[in-house]
């Protein structure tokens, strides 16, 4: 075997490649135990002074036993987590094709800005006069979000996409209540993110599904037929989870409003249209914006999400507290109902204790300012271009159910190309791990069979896309070439082989219990 540079990948030591090491580690692949198995009870990595307790006020609640936390020195802790991190996959390590997740690069400039002491070292309970700069930044970000969506108001505090959905639906519920309406049904298309029906149920609504048409879009006639006096809102994602633009938006909005309902848009895929389409122009009433997708703030294991919600004129008065307002000497916060009422506002409550994810606001603002309005329009353009490049490069060897036209930011494939091969979508995902990639999104959306959803984002270069496409083509050809053994049991080269997901779900082990050996050690 030769690698891409033409050098042999078979070293002289190849014949020894399968021997067992004494340590159990394999070169740079460390077999890392759990922290509870390395640490020792009673050991402490730092010298802490004995606490001086003058009056014990715990009464009978004083702890008698040990806490049971493992004791490790600082280098042991650092090594443990560095070793674990090396078994992991990250956006900083490679392309992350997870569809519907928008795993784009997190620019280092964002990180630098978020670490400025004026943003990083402040506390939400500080006097408002000492955090005027932070409030100004939240206000400016809010202004940009309103501008980009052409919506009059925005609630900044929701801390994730689903939290934003909850905020939007609570505003809708409050609005119906204020108008004396008792509507309890939310219509959700069958291609929706799972969070949509879950949010509707959490806020106390009943969910009804709207089918998709043969073009992968919402079936307009079916939607209209379901609208009625009980429908509180329609939740729609645009572009939808098939990676397609819902092109009946105005007509849907008109029908929804005529029926006395509100139009919620799941903005998870806003990255495909930012700077090009303003959702306010499409007639929507509420939409959350995932700053951790569209505006490049970290997510997954990398950081918390942030899901501000833009609101229409009709819903704006119901926005949750706190609200930032201008006054003579800068900004202040409206924190209670009485103050809000004096301004003719009817906040439905609060989404969280304070004003939201400050660190993510700084990162998102840095991203917006470094791109500018024209740059953001290009972000959407490049994201769509990259996804279409993937779609066009793979649709002859894979099967694209809606591949007759272009897609938006993500390319959807089904498992028709695997028919009668004995290879499944899951097998392809696992084989992709062997090839050094995180798997694409699989078995979602549910509207196509054995779905594989690939979202490259705008941050991948043509070279990175070509490498990924070559791997996907190779796997598709192997699957069709009856090379089943390549897939069954994959991954072969990961730190762990294929895990038994069924057993993990049916009989989950949720708590670590000490082995006899570690119990004996602790007793020493």
């Amino acid at each position: 075997m030769m690698n891409k540079q033409g050098r042999s990948t078979h070293g002289a030591a190849d014949e020894h490649a399968h021997f067992e090491t004494i340590s159990g580690d394999r070169g740079l692949d460390h077999e890392e135990p759990l922290i509870f198995e390395i640490g020792r009870l009673g050991k402490c990595g730092v010298d802490l002074p004995e606490p001086e307790i003058k009056h014990d006020r715990l009464g009978g609640l004083r702890r008698r036993g040990t806490v049971g936390l493992p004791g490790l020195s600082e280098p042991e802790v650092v090594r443990h987590f560095v070793r674990l991190s090396r078994m992991n996959y990250a956006i900083d390590a490679g392309l992350y094709p997870l569809g519907s997740c928008t795993m784009k690069h997190n620019p280092r400039l964002n990180e630098k800005m978020a670490r400025l002491p004026g943003f990083a070292d402040i506390h939400p309970l500080q006097p408002v006069s000492t955090v005027q700069g932070a409030l100004a930044l939240i206000e400016q970000l809010a202004h940009w979000l309103k501008l980009l969506t052409n919506m009059p108001a925005v609630a900044m505090s929701p801390k994730a996409g689903a939290h934003g959905e909850q905020c939007g639906l609570k505003a809708i519920k409050a609005a119906h209540k204020a108008h004396g309406q008792k509507r309890n049904v939310i219509l959700v298309p069958e291609s929706a993110h799972g969070t949509n029906p879950a949010t509707a149920a959490l806020v106390g609504f009943t969910v009804e599904e709207v089918p998709a048409n043969e073009r992968g879009r919402v079936d307009l006639a079916a939607l209209k037929a379901k609208l009625g006096p009980n429908v509180a809102a329609v939740m729609l994602t645009n572009p939808n989870t098939c990676g397609l633009f819902e092109n009946d938006m105005r007509e849907i909005a008109d029908a929804v409003h005529k029926a006395g309902a509100y139009f919620y848009c799941d903005g998870a895929n806003f990255n495909a249209i930012v700077g090009r389409v303003r959702p306010g122009d499409l007639g929507i009433d509420a939409m959350h914006i995932n700053l951790h997708k569209t505006f490049s703030t970290p997510h997954g294991g990398g950081g918390p999400g942030a899901g501000p919600v833009v609101l229409s004129e009709a819903l704006a008065p119901f926005a949750p507290l706190p609200l930032i307002v201008h006054y003579d000497n800068g900004f202040k916060l409206i924190e209670d109902d009485a103050e809000a009422k004096a301004r003719d506002l009817k906040p439905f409550g609060r989404m969280c204790a304070f004003h939201g994810q400050m660190g993510m606001f700084v990162r998102a603002m840095a991203y917006m300012l470094s791109h500018g309005a024209d740059g953001l329009a290009q972000v959407a353009g490049d994201a769509v271009l990259n996804a279409n490049y993937v779609l066009a490069s793979l649709k002859d060897v894979m099967s694209a159910p809606f591949g007759q036209g272009p897609c938006m930011h993500e390319a959807l494939f089904d498992d028709a190309f695997l028919k009668d091969t004995g290879v499944t979508t899951l097998d392809i995902a696992k084989a992709l791990i062997d090839e050094g990639y995180h798997p694409m999104t699989m078995y979602f959306p549910l509207v196509v069979h054995g779905a594989m959803l690939i979202e490259p984002t705008e941050t991948e270069s043509k070279r990175a896309l070509d490498d990924f496409i070559a791997v996907m083509r190779g796997l598709a050809e192997k699957a069709q070439g009856n090379d089943k053994s390549r897939f069954q049991g994959a991954p072969f080269l990961a730190p762990r082989r294929r895990l038994d997901e069924t057993a993990a779900a049916r009989k989950p082990v949720l708590r670590w219990t000490p082995s006899a050996k570690s119990t004996a050690q602790a007793a020493e």
Partner: protein
């Protein structure tokens, strides 16, 4: 008399015996779902409308509702599959049944697909 099994487009089966209908999901549905890891069944005594939610089934791939193909009152549920969801995959048409309904209108069962019709329906998928 042999008890006939009827089928729905949502891949459920119904077996009517003396006014009590046993309902489950078909072999095809069980295979499509993949390994079932969780089943939520209704309470005995619950009245279910035709098309109403009768159960929730969750597999390694997805979670989905099982809708009642006919109206009736729940008289018995198969608690065994709540503890051992693997039964649904092992014997979907037998030990993996979901619920028994006291049928409101037996004609609703007659309107469902026969086995031959269901087989044809599967061929078209």
């Amino acid at each position: 008399m042999m008890i006939e099994t009827r089928y729905t487009k949502d891949h459920e089966w119904v077996r009517l015996d003396g006014g009590i209908a046993t309902i489950g999901i078909t072999d095809y549905a069980a295979e499509q779902l993949g390994d079932v890891v969780f089943v939520e069944l209704p309470k005995v005594g619950k009245a279910i409308e035709k098309g109403g939610e009768a159960a929730v089934v969750e597999s390694v791939k997805a979670a989905s509702e099982v809708y009642a193909p006919i109206a009736g009152e729940v008289v018995e549920v198969n608690s065994a599959i709540e503890g051992e969801p693997a039964n649904v995959n092992a014997e979907p048409m037998g030990a993996g049944w979901f619920i028994k309904l006291k049928v409101k209108n037996a004609a609703e069962v007659g309107a469902l697909m026969t086995e031959a019709q269901y087989r044809d329906y599967l061929k078209g998928l």
